[in-house]
């Protein structure tokens, strides 16, 4: 993020009422449309704009082994497996490659904060609009770690 957005984020964070207004605007967009779970570190752009935190196990790196044959969740058979949906939408949008990104452990301190402000402040990785993985998305260790040979 640029110096300007960082300054702006710092300004907002100094003013609690303003912060609440930004958070309200963010939630107004994300909660009804995307069932946002307020983790404060959005990965929507990597997951075909479908929130993986809706998974009962909060799996951010792909589905568990329990997806049912009909694409439903093992825990709540009446609901879709969120990763099954992500895969469908990613295929439709041509964003399959984005799914390969390794998402680091969640920073639990950010729960309930504004992901937009966290992004402007440079506290979290920002959105990534391109359909391909970018340089910053390459896994730690990456292909260097050829574990077998």
């Amino acid at each position: 993020m640029s110096a300007f957005t960082k300054k702006f984020a710092a300004f907002v964070e100094r003013h609690p009422t303003l912060y609440k207004m930004v958070l309200l605007a963010e939630n107004a967009v994300k909660k009804p449309a995307l069932n946002c779970q307020s983790c404060g570190q959005c990965v929507l752009s990597y997951n075909a704009f479908t929130c993986p935190m809706r998974c009962p196990k909060q799996l951010r790196n792909g589905p568990c082994g329990g997806t049912r044959e009909n694409g439903r969740c093992e825990v709540y058979p009446e609901k879709d497996c969120i990763w099954f949906l992500i895969n469908e939408r990613a295929t439709k949008l041509g964003r399959e490659k984005k799914l390969l990104k390794f998402h680091k452990p969640v920073d639990r301190r950010l729960q309930g904060t504004s992901a937009w402000i966290n992004m402007w402040a440079g506290r979290i990785e920002g959105m990534s609009w391109s359909k391909d993985l970018e340089e910053k998305d390459v896994q730690p260790g990456g292909s260097k770690r050829d574990t077998k040979s």
């Binding site: 799996l59 790196n61 568990c64 329990g66 895969n87 292909s143």
Partner: protein, 318 residues
């Protein structure tokens, strides 16, 4: 001099590996583990010690793994993300390594609602891919926080893969992630649907993943057609080919037929390119393991070198 785990040395030497699996007791009796160890000694290269599987409370997988060493077998300590946060996971790995555990299998964990404490809070601080990343970092001498540690462990890191749950392309993607963050070996769900397994495996081979990680295919001996139907109907993410259900139904001695099916599958997997070993899951029927391994022609097990020099370990890790 440090000791390389038996499973790792068997795999790195290019042998076809055999893993077993046993559940710790639902009680405080260590003898129960020592007794079960007899079924695997000199039969399996390593044995999984499950971590509160299906979310039912049992003796901890860490302590059971330590008792298994006492019982003369090499443990693969299972570790789920359901019951521990990142602090507990890292401290358990340090303790287990110090006690002689050399293999860890990183799992998300069955959801609480399947077990005997459905009212419990699930932790899920990390997911299984992040847990593999964490252990790989620890092997490299760093905690997840980035802090350095003085005497790092050197775990042989495992992950799971389910070739049978949809969507298949995502299964391969997740496997690729696990490999990229540092998994050394992969264990799969039991194979009762070979054509589907083959389709998954060909996608895996297309990406060259079988060259980067040791894949151990799961097999399971069943004693009745009921067990097989249970797998098909009540275990989410499992598929069973009709062929096996028909065979089990028609069999006059279902136990013998179950053994025959399992041995057939083991032989078939041993011939399959890209598969480095089998992982036998004899749920509540551990005593059948020696016969399965014998009839599949996988005995005697290769004897790994007793001691490995630090230089050799470094070579293996490079």
């Amino acid at each position: 001099m440090a000791q390389l785990g038996r499973l790792e040395s068997v795999l790195r030497a290019g042998h076809f590996a055999v893993c077993g699996e046993m559940g710790p007791p639902q009680g405080a009796d260590k003898g129960a583990i020592l007794k079960k160890c007899g079924n695997f000694r000199n039969v399996a290269d390593a044995v999984n010690l499950t971590d509160n599987q299906t979310a039912i409370v049992r003796m901890s997988s860490v302590m059971s793994s330590v008792f298994a060493i006492e019982g003369g077998i090499e443990p693969i300590m299972q570790m789920t993300c359901r019951d521990r946060n990142r602090l507990a996971q890292q401290s358990d790995i340090l303790g287990a390594y110090a006690a002689g555990v050399r293999n860890v299998l990183c799992l998300s964990g069955d959801y609480m609602s399947f077990g005997n404490h459905p009212d419990a809070k699930g932790v899920f601080d990390l997911d299984s891919v992040q847990l593999i990343h964490t252990v790989a970092e620890m092997n490299a001498g760093r905690f997840l926080s980035g802090d350095e540690m003085k005497s790092p462990p050197r775990m042989f890191i495992g992950g799971a893969a389910n070739p049978f749950a949809p969507p298949m392309e995502l299964r391969v993607m997740r496997l690729a992630k696990k490999v990229a963050v540092g998994a050394h070996f992969i264990q799969t769900q039991p194979v009762f649907d070979f054509p589907r397994f083959e389709r998954w495996l060909s996608l895996v081979r297309d990406q060259g993943l079988d060259k980067k990680v040791f894949i151990l295919a799961g097999v399971m001996p069943v004693r009745s057609v009921k067990a097989l139907l249970h797998m098909r109907d009540n275990v989410p993410g499992m598929t069973v080919a009709d062929e096996y259900i028909k065979r089990m139904e028609a069999a006059s001695d279902p136990k013998e037929e179950g053994v025959a099916i399992c041995v057939e599958m083991m032989k078939r997997l041993a011939q399959t390119p890209g598969i480095s070993g089998v992982h036998i899951m004899p749920v509540m029927w551990e005593s059948i393991t020696p016969r399965l391994v014998q009839e599949a022609g996988l005995l005697p097990r290769p004897e790994p070198p007793a001691e490995t020099s630090d230089a050799a370990i470094k070579d293996a890790a490079a």
